[in-house]
């Protein structure tokens, strides 16, 4: 919200510097996001009187002697057509800063510093300035809009700084107002706070006016939707003379970003800025049936707003109608059909409170907004409707642009605008803060805030003004006190009243962190992707139409299609991440993510979906292969003191012969494999990538596993190497299983060589294993081991046709 300091000063005697005021506002809850002096770009410009003015031959220039009082007298060359001897103009002295304009003298291009120089051989020691060059418009100072010199009145003091004269020493604060304080969404509202924090009296704006005897016969207001419009005040103004607003009003509106339109419209905008109360002015002559009806729109009803946009309405939208048709979109914008025109002679002012959520919803749904809808969306208190109407009528009178009739209609739901009483325990209020605010400070602060406190022992009674609808209970009083008393009185204590509690991570949180760290130790970097992804990601992965991954939780209002459904796999985003890295030239890397996959229990969603914590690993690079990824999966198993088994499997996005499902205790918990070459190519990857996805929730039952300790045998372990010939289709895992199951002393089976080719027959291969036998209670002698090996070989031969390689 833009707040000019000069305007604030109408209501409070502010005798501190702007920056100091900014600090005071900040400390009591109103952050000034930005502040600037209106004439921040202007310096060293004074009032100069031209004593002599001679044309320079063959040019449009004049050479002038300019008296700048105590600053001296200077020779200045001037090209303006209105320079003349005796005139008083702004003189930029040597070293002054002014607004720089393009050749047209109108377009602003920046800020310039004035230096002594020569023009057509004549010394020029400064510059006489136009309004544009000082950043002053016609709305701010009479004559400032002229494309030539700005002319000061004859009685202006020569040599005086021009900034106070032109209002350039004014300050603008851009104040941010929190959502609980809609009463401060206006200059007068903020002035209340300024008065309280500076402990100065608040000067109320003049609300007086005189009604004449004129009556708008038969005029009526009907509110058919009091839930959406708890208060509607209308007042009829006649003998209206539409014209320009006075400069003081134009200037203020300009400073807060409003264009001046006409006196009647400007009055509504001015009151809106002053009190935060949106108002509307209807051309009284265009209200058919001489009545106003506030009702919900009929479905399909249409309105064209002031900006000539047409809207088709629904029953959710509130409209202001005359006897026949909608004339305004309530709280958002007036209709074109009842707009104030130059020819308007009668005006009906509207000052109403509309329900906050309704205006917000309509504004969003229709895509139409205004200062008014923004104010209603933030909340307008009923209190201001009465005040704002009075102020508008006062301004009509002050500006002399109309006469106040006796026709005043006030439709309300009986809400009181009087102060309401609240009692609170002082010790409870202090208890919220953890400090004791002295009674005299409580009294002082609450008095400044207009709460009229009465303290009786521990009990205080306050009277809450109607514009403070946010005050509900004693914690609100605590907040009012501390923001004025100062948050620096709050000193850190460390839970002095609290019980001791055990804190820390639970077993799930610990296990997930252990898994992450195990992967980091293997050189993998954790990454984090969005919980939503694109439906097209499932096409990339080639999932069938009936795949579980296609049962999607959809976002009703996604940012875009690419972020529109909750993910059912982490693989797609991992593929994109690998692709991005490869495109950047990182051709090797290990990544992993732990995140949720989302599966609806039913669609449409009427329960929480299942959120499955899932681990995804993605690795790429020339040194990576299926088995390095498998090693990472085994690391995860080791971390949880479990072991995984792997079986060849299919996945639509993985290599048909380099893919496995991961099994733990007979339950499938995930997969791993090499990304297909098709996806590798379509994603512009130069080196192969490998992906694994593991359902951590399925492993959570192992999170509290404790590693078992096996006592060391006092006898030495024995190792035997066996090279075995088998069918090419026989897998390593099958042989390992057979070896383990053939002898209870086998504690490790490690493949160390695979060979195919002569002299091995073409359908066969050789695999060589190191088998470790660990003795328990007695020594395993060579003879005993040989016996086990023979038994093992017989079993391998009998069950799998495996022979010892000779």
């Amino acid at each position: 919200m833009l707040v000019p300091l000069s305007w604030l000063k109408d209501y409070v005697d502010i005798d501190i510097e702007p920056k100091e005021l900014e600090k005071k506002l900040f400390s009591c809850g109103f952050e000034v996001e930005e502040s600037w002096e209106v004439g921040k770009d202007i310096s060293k410009v004074v009032v100069g009187q031209v004593e002599s003015c001679e044309p320079i031959p063959d040019t449009h220039l004049h050479v002038c002697r300019v008296n700048a009082g105590s600053h001296g007298t200077f020779q200045v060359c001037c090209g303006a057509d209105n320079v003349k001897a005796g005139g008083k103009y702004p003189l930029a002295l040597n070293g002054a800063t002014v607004i720089e304009t393009a050749k047209d003298h109108v377009t602003v291009v920046g800020v310039a510093t004035i230096k002594k120089g020569k023009l057509r051989g004549y010394d020029s020691e400064g510059m006489l300035c136009s309004g544009v060059e000082l950043g002053v418009t016609e709305d701010m100072y009479e004559g400032a809009g002229y494309n030539g010199l700005l002319v000061f009145p004859d009685d202006t003091e020569v040599g005086a700084d021009v900034k106070p004269i032109l209002g350039l020493d004014d300050w603008i604060f851009d104040v941010s107002i929190t959502a609980n304080r809609p009463d401060c969404q206006s200059i007068f509202g903020l002035a209340r706070e300024v008065a309280a924090v500076l402990e100065k009296p608040l000067k109320e704006p003049d609300l007086s006016f005189t009604e004449d005897d004129t009556v708008n016969e038969g005029f009526s207001v009907t509110v058919d939707a009091p839930d959406l419009c708890p208060r509607y005040i209308a007042h009829y103004v006649h003998d209206v003379k539409i014209g320009e607003s006075p400069r003081w009003m134009k200037r203020r509106l300009a400073l807060v970003g409003n264009n001046s339109i006409s006196n009647m419209v400007d009055i509504t905008n001015y009151v809106m800025r002053e009190f935060g109360q949106p108002m509307h002015a209807f051309d009284g002559g265009f209200l058919e049936g001489n009545q106003i009806v506030v009702r919900r729109a009929n479905d399909g009803e249409k309105i064209v707003t002031l900006d000539e946009k047409e809207f088709t309405l629904t029953n959710d939208n509130l409209v202001i109608c005359d006897g026949v048709k909608p004339v305004a979109l309530a709280g958002i914008m007036g209709g074109l059909n009842s707009e104030i025109r130059d020819t308007t002679t009668a005006v009906t002012f509207e000052c109403a409170k509309f329900a906050r959520d309704n205006i917000r919803k309509s504004s969003r749904a229709l895509g139409q907004s205004s200062d008014s809808s923004a104010a209603f969306s933030k909340g307008v208190y009923e209190y201001t409707t009465v005040m704002a109407m009075k102020r508008a009528l006062h301004l009509v009178e002050e500006l002399g642009c109309g006469k106040i009739s006796a026709t005043h209609v006030d439709v309300n739901t009986g809400n009181s605008l009087e102060k309401r009483e609240m009692k609170a325990s002082i010790s409870k209020v202090n208890g919220v803060l953890g400090i004791t605010v002295p009674d005299e400070d409580i009294e002082r602060i609450l008095t400044n805030l207009n709460f009229e406190p009465v303290i009786n022992g521990d009990e205080m009674t306050i009277k809450i003004p109607a514009y403070r609808e946010d005050m509900e209970d004693y914690p609100d009083i605590a907040e009012e006190l501390i923001r004025m008393y100062g948050y620096d009185h709050v000193h850190g204590t460390f839970l002095e009243g609290a019980a001791v509690t055990m804190g820390g991570r639970n077993s799930k949180q610990k296990a997930e962190l252990r898994i992450k760290r195990a992967l980091c130790a293997q050189g993998a970097n954790e990454c984090m992707h969005y919980s939503f992804f694109s439906p097209s990601d499932l096409d990339l992965l080639g999932y069938e139409a009936d795949a579980k991954e296609r049962e999607l939780v959809k976002i009703l209002n996604p940012i875009n299609e690419d972020l529109s459904v909750m993910r059912t796999t982490l693989a797609a985003q991992m593929i994109h991440a690998i692709s991005r890295n490869q495109k950047k030239g990182s051709l090797e890397g290990r990544l992993f993510e732990v995140g949720n996959r989302f599966f609806p229990k039913s669609l449409p969603l009427n329960d929480y979906p299942e959120e499955k914590v899932t681990l995804c690993i993605g690795i790429f690079g020339q040194d990576e292969d299926f088995y390095t990824l498998k090693g990472l999966c085994d690391n995860v198993a080791d971390t949880l003191h479990i072991s995984f088994k792997y079986e060849a499997a299919d996945k639509p996005f993985l290599h048909p012969y380099r893919t496995a499902r991961i099994i733990c205790d007979g339950v499938e918990v995930g997969y791993l494999g090499q990304l297909t070459y098709e996806i590798q190519d379509s994603e512009d990857m130069r080196v192969p990538a490998y992906l694994a996805e593991i359902d951590l929730d399925a492993l959570s039952k192992y999170y509290e596993n404790v590693p078992a300790f096996t006592a060391l045998s006092k006898f030495d372990k024995q190792k035997r190497d066996l090279a075995l010939i088998m069918d090419k289709t026989t897998t390593c895992g099958e042989v390992e299983d057979a070896i383990y199951s053939s002898c209870k002393f086998v504690t490790d089976v490690k493949l160390f060589d695979v060979y195919e080719g002569l002299p091995i027959p073409p359908t066969k291969k050789s695999m060589a294993f190191t088998i470790t036998f660990t003795p328990r209670d007695e020594e395993l002698t060579d003879e005993i081991i040989s016996g086990y090996v023979d038994k093992m070989l017989r079993k391998l031969q009998f069950t799998m046709g495996i022979e010892l390689r000779s």
């Binding site: 929190t178 208890g431 919220v432 948050y487 990454c527 984090m528 009703l556």
Partner: protein, 349 residues
């Protein structure tokens, strides 16, 4: 002098032979072989001399024995000394031959890093776990009641608008704040409550400074006599642990529907120490989180007697403080999985 001149001559001959042999040795292996040829207990030449003892007259035996032992001691010294010399020389040559360029690249598989947000999250958990906070992770999908209504965000509050919240159905949405976790905990647990609720949250914002998904960490304490000073005390400790010992906090008024009073918490700028710099935009303070005293209505919504218990709550944007700590200027960098980014940040112990 030995009477048996022949024996004496033999001894001296061996002495001379040893001297000569030693002169010609050039490896420790040769030293070993040569030593063995003289000193071996069975086949060595010196031992052969000892075997001559039986031929020595009785009166000369002692003298002869001494002469052989002297020779043996002398030979031992000779061989030890040449062996030592050879081994030193060989070692030197070996070392010289194995000279390397120590500036050549290391052989290493660098450990990977936890995500910067995880690092910060776990750091925060460690800090607050030490203060007795348990960790509660809610779900990313929430229902309207827990995310808004129970948190005293009335139906017409602007924060509920479609603009900010991702809806999955009229009732279900992606949580916009980890504060939703407060309610689940308070419904199921009686005070004393100290929880920390980290997690992903979602808002329909997507530009240079906003990501539609980010992470928050909610803290909640409910017990007897909990007040604003306790909030400040806990946060003082937190900023000191994250940004260094001298860091201070400043509370200033703000508004959240679920706390009353509500505060924004700034910490003194850790870059300039509060003097004012580009990081803190000259103010000396950096906004780090929001918090306040738990709104009575929120306690009551959860069936907790607000006359007996009170609480404080705070919410930290984890990306924000991570970015501040490491000087990361674009939040999107945290979600792009760029190895050049992830490789750099390794702080969490």
């Amino acid at each position: 002098m030995l009477e048996n001149a022949a024996l004496t001559k033999k001894i001296e001959a061996i002495r001379a032979e040893i001297k000569e042999k030693i002169e010609s040795l050039d490896s420790s292996k040769q030293v070993y072989e040569t030593r063995k040829s003289f000193m071996d207990p069975k086949a060595g030449k010196i031992n052969a001399l000892m075997k001559e003892m039986k031929n020595v007259p009785k009166e000369s035996k002692a003298e002869y024995g001494k002469a052989v032992n002297d020779l043996k001691a002398w030979a031992l010294d000779c061989f030890d000394s040449i062996d030592k010399k050879m081994k030193e020389q060989e070692a030197r040559l070996r070392y010289e031959s194995e000279k390397i360029d120590v500036t050549m690249p290391a052989k290493i598989r660098k450990p990977g890093n936890l995500h910067p947000v995880t690092q910060m999250r776990e750091t925060l958990i460690d800090i607050f776990a030490g203060m007795g906070f348990e960790i509660f992770e809610g779900s990313e999908v929430e229902n309207d009641y827990y995310n808004f209504t129970a948190l005293n965000t009335p139906a017409d509050h602007p924060a509920r608008d479609m603009q900010d919240t991702f809806y999955l159905s009229p009732e279900y949405l992606l949580r916009t704040q980890t504060s939703a976790g407060q309610i689940h905990v308070m419904e199921n647990q009686k005070p004393p409550i100290k929880i920390l609720s980290p997690g992903k949250v979602f808002r329909s914002d997507d530009d240079a400074t906003h990501s539609p998904m980010f992470s928050q960490m909610e803290g909640l304490v409910v017990d007897k006599n909990i007040n604003l000073c306790d909030l400040k005390g806990a946060l003082d400790l937190f900023v000191q642990k994250i940004y260094g010992e001298g860091t201070k906090t400043r509370l200033r008024p703000s508004y959240f529907p679920f706390t009353e009073p509500s505060v924004e918490v700034d910490c003194s700028c850790f870059e300039c120490g509060g003097k004012g710099c580009s990081l803190c935009k000259g103010t000396g303070w950096i906004e780090v989180l929001g918090g306040g005293v738990v709104n009575k209505k929120v306690l009551e919504n959860c069936g907790i007697d607000s006359n007996e218990y009170s609480g404080f709550a705070f919410g930290i944007g984890i990306e924000r403080i991570t970015m501040l700590k490491y000087g990361i200027n674009n939040i999107k960098l945290l979600f792009e999985s760029d190895l050049e980014v992830l490789d750099q940040i390794n702080h969490y112990e």
